[in-house]
């Protein structure tokens, strides 16, 4: 960080300290945040970066009505906030955001709304207002928006199922894919119903695995044995920890915010993109991703995939490893999407897109709770 380049312009503690049994832990974050905003003469709408530890930055942003495009949930104990300050300084200097809110709140004595390790079980908002209705993990939560999407965009159930069919085509070319046998629309629609309208073949795999990335400066990258893959643009956002509180279930605010940010930073048009990865825990995610990232107009993604634009030989090869639906999904699939983008940029993917120069890799966090977008290129800038 260049000395003197960053300043603290607001600071406050919670209104009360000591014994505060009338506030849940998350409200201590909110109370301190509101006081700090007042101190700085700002409103929540002026904040575009959120960092905290102990609670998720998603919870803090949603509660305060913030749409951030930079978040940091680094949680390494009591010094987490020093790290947040340092990360925020780097982010502001790099133009990732302008005004960062760092919060802390801890019901250490009264233990109100505080769980064993950050989570608070039945006392969280999701614990109170979603868990009692029989939600059973991602297949019943992540999937909940899709009927609204289908109705509002005029997309058919068959077009949803077709996402899995096309991705299996990509997987069939990938020796490391878990499922490689080609499937039909009838196979997908006729497989075991998990949570209507999602059948088993519209849901991702559950596998084991891992991945890792190493980054350095572009200057140093030339000294390495591998062809450099450069970062062209980046984006991120969070929306809500509760699926029921999405602003609009037919589109993801976090996807739109993150994608717009990444494209603006990269300074590219959609026509410049040769390859796309869209985190597909379930078959509807590529539909949301193609529309919310701007590759398709609203309600056009189903037909776009049907017309084979994302399939092998198409104009916008998408999820070329087979995706979470056919390649692998260990729980947090984003790392595997990044790996495939890197392979495509190095020219080493099993189903290589010839001459690909720009790859857009878009991930989702939680269940439409968060999004991250990384645009890569193999071209030196």
């Amino acid at each position: 960080m260049r000395p003197g380049s960053i300043a603290i312009v607001g600071a406050a503690e919670t209104t009360e300290l000591g014994k505060v049994p009338h506030m849940a832990q998350i409200q201590l974050h909110a109370d301190a945040a509101i006081n700090a905003l007042q101190d700085a003469g700002l409103t929540a709408k002026d904040i575009d970066g959120v960092a905290c530890a102990g609670e998720s930055p998603t919870n803090v942003a949603h509660l305060l009505g913030i749409t951030p495009h930079w978040v940091d949930g680094t949680a390494v104990g009591g010094c987490s906030f020093m790290l947040h300050v340092r990360h925020a300084a780097a982010a502001i200097n790099d133009g990732l955001c302008n005004t960062v809110l760092i919060t802390h709140g801890e019901s250490g004595r009264s233990q109100v709304g505080r769980g064993p390790w950050g989570g608070a079980g039945g006392a969280t908002l999701a614990g109170q207002f979603e868990a009692p209705y029989g939600i059973m993990g991602p297949p019943t939560i992540f999937t909940l928006p899709v009927l609204r999407y289908l109705k509002d965009t005029g997309t058919s159930l068959e077009q949803l199922a077709n996402v899995a069919v096309v991705q299996r085509e990509w997987a069939s070319a990938n020796p490391r894919a878990s499922f490689r046998d080609l499937i039909t629309l009838d196979d997908v629609l006729g497989s075991k119903m998990i949570a209507y309208p999602f059948t088993k073949l519209m849901c991702c795999l559950v596998t084991d695995g891992g991945g890792a990335l190493i980054l350095t400066s572009a200057d140093r990258a030339k000294d390495y044995p591998t062809p450099p893959v450069y970062l062209l643009g980046t984006g991120e956002s969070v929306e809500t920890p509760m699926i029921s509180q999405m602003e609009d279930m037919s589109t993801s605010r976090a996807f739109r915010t993150s994608g717009r940010r990444a494209f603006n930073e990269a300074g590219i048009q959609h026509s410049d993109v040769d390859h796309v990865m869209i985190y597909d825990a379930f078959a509807h995610l590529p539909l949301y991703g193609l529309e919310d990232l701007g590759f398709c107009g609203r309600g056009e993604a189903g037909a776009f995939i049907e017309e084979r634009h994302t399939a092998p030989g198409g104009s916008l090869p998408t999820n070329t490893n087979g995706g979470g639906l056919s390649y692998m999904h260990s729980g947090m699939y984003g790392m595997y999407a990044l790996q495939e983008s890197v392979r495509q940029m190095r020219g080493t993917a099993p189903a290589q897109v010839d001459g690909a120069k720009v790859s857009v890799c878009h991930g989702v966090g939680g269940m439409f709770a968060a999004a991250g977008t990384i645009i890569m290129t193999n071209q030196e800038i």
């Binding site: 929540a44 207002f129 009692p132 209705y133 059973m136 297949p139």
Partner: protein, 144 residues
Amino acid sequence: MQLADRSKLSRPIPTPETEHFWAGTRAGEIRLQRCDDCECIYFPPRPFCPQCLSKAISVFAASGKATLYSYVINERPHPAFDGPYAIAVVELEEGPRLMTNLVNVEQTPAALILDMPLEVVFEAITEEISLPYFQPQTRVESGS
């Protein structure tokens, strides 16, 4: 939706910020919050307005009328439920949406049509907690 064993339901634990909501459901009301400054009506509960951060907040009883916004029908067995059941999000007449279950209606795609009118009913799962469920609207609208 039929409950098989309500003791197997995940139990909400009210916090100081949400107590009024759960007191409301015990009394047969959905209590929402409205900002006295910008008139924003919001859910889930918090003691400040998510639009303008004002702490001047009023609690009021919603009409209990809603429409069906989206849902899934879970086919995997859950110990608290008898057979497949819909997990739904409804849009209250006042604007906010909330998750719920649907009762007194078949749990099938044919019976559950998006945007169908619904009304709230309450089910006590413990002495402290009554959950708001929704059923197809039965009340006859009073004409002008």
